[in-house]
Amino acid sequence: MIQSYRPETLKEALQIRNQIDCTVFAGGTDLYIRKRQWQGAERRFDNDLLFIHQLSELRKIEVSDEEIILGACVTQSEIEGDAYLPEFLRMPYRLMGNPAIRNTATVGGNIVNAAQVADSLPVLFALDSQVVLQSIHGERKMPTMDFVIGKYKTGIQTNEILTHVMIPKKNWTDFYYRKIGSRKQNILSKLSVIVLLEKKNDDLTNLAISIGCVNEKPIRDHEIEQGFLESGAINQLIDQLYDKMEGQNDKRSSKAYREITSLKLIKDYLEKNS
C-alpha cells in the first residue's frame, strides 16, 4: 500500500523527496487520468505520493521590472485572471482545458508532465523561461527548453521539486498565438504556434517562434531566428523550421497537417507583420 505525504512547508517536502522514491502530485489533472480505476475505487499509484499543492511557497505570482516568477502550484486560472501578466502569457493558459480544469491544473504540472500536447510549453520556450529545481542540497536553474527532453521526459532528478518558473521581461511589441484543435474549447491541440516580435520604428529587432505538438517537444531555434533577423527572408525561415520537424501521425492529427498548417500560420503572420 502506498503512503501519501502532505507536508506544510517546502523544506519538509524537500526532505521527504530526498528520502523517499515518490511521485510529486501538484494539481493532479494528468496524474489521475493516467491511473483510471473503477468508480469508487482508490486510484492505484505505483509510488508513494508527495502532495505539494498546499505549499504557500509555490502559490505566488511575482512580477518585477526584470522578470515574472510563477510558483509551480499557481493554477492555470490564476494566470488567466492576473491582469498584471502580459496577454501573450495569459492566452495559452486561457485556451487550455475548461474553467474547472484550469482551477486545479498547475503551471509546474504542465511542465513536468511534459506531454507532447502541453500548451504552456511553446510559450514558455519562446519566452526563454527558466525552471527552478530545488532539492535539500540547494537549487539549480535551467532553460525550460532544455529541461523538457521529450514526450513525458524531463531532466528532473529524483530528489528535486520544480518550484518556480522565471520569465525574463523583454520588450515584445506584438505577438501571435494560435491553437488548432477539433473544437474551440476543452480540447487537446493538434498544433499551436506562438510568434513574439519586437519592433523599433518599424524595424524588426527581435523575434521568438515556437511550435507545439509537432515534435515530441516544442520547436524553438535561436539560430534560425537570428538568421531571419539578419536576412528578413521568410521563405528561408520557413524551410529551416520545416527541417526541424520530425513528428508522426497520431489519433489527433496527421504529420502533414501539423507541419503544413503551423508553417502557413507563421508565414502568413510574418508576411503581414515583420
Partner: protein
Amino acid sequence: MKIPFQLNGEPVVAETTYSMRLLDVVRNEFGLTGTKEGCSEGECGACLVFLDNKLVNSCMVPMSHVVGKKVETIEGFAKSERYQVIEQAFQNHGAVQCGFCIPGMIMAVENLLRTQTVFTEEIIKESMSGNICRCTGYQLIYDAIKTVIQEVVE
C-alpha cells in the same frame, strides 16, 4: 485517516486517504449522489462541485486538496434561491432529458454567473465547454441559460 472539511455549510470529518478523490468521498461516505461520475477525466463536467468557491472536477481532486476547505455540491446549492431560477428555466425550456449531466450543468451555470460580468454567446459557450450532454442537445440548455441570465442579471 480523518480529513476535516466543510460540506454544504456543515463541518464534517471524512474517514479516507489523501489520494482518494473528492467525488468518491461525497458520493460514498456522505451519500450525496447528485455529483456524478461520467468520464473520470475532466471532460464531461458531471462531477462539478465548488471547492472554496472555485468550480472543480471532483473526479480529479484528491482529498489532500480538500483539507480544511469548503465544498459545495449540487445538494447544497439546491437550497439557494438562484437554484430555483435555474431549475425553472431548465424545466421551461425542456433542457433536461435523462438528467445525468444536469447537476454538473447547473453548477457550471452558477459558476458562469459568479465569475462573469458580460454574457456574450461566446462567453456562455466557453463557460459551458467542460460539460457534455449526450441526449438533450445543447441548444435547449443554451436557451435555458439565456433565460437565467435575463432573470438574474438584466
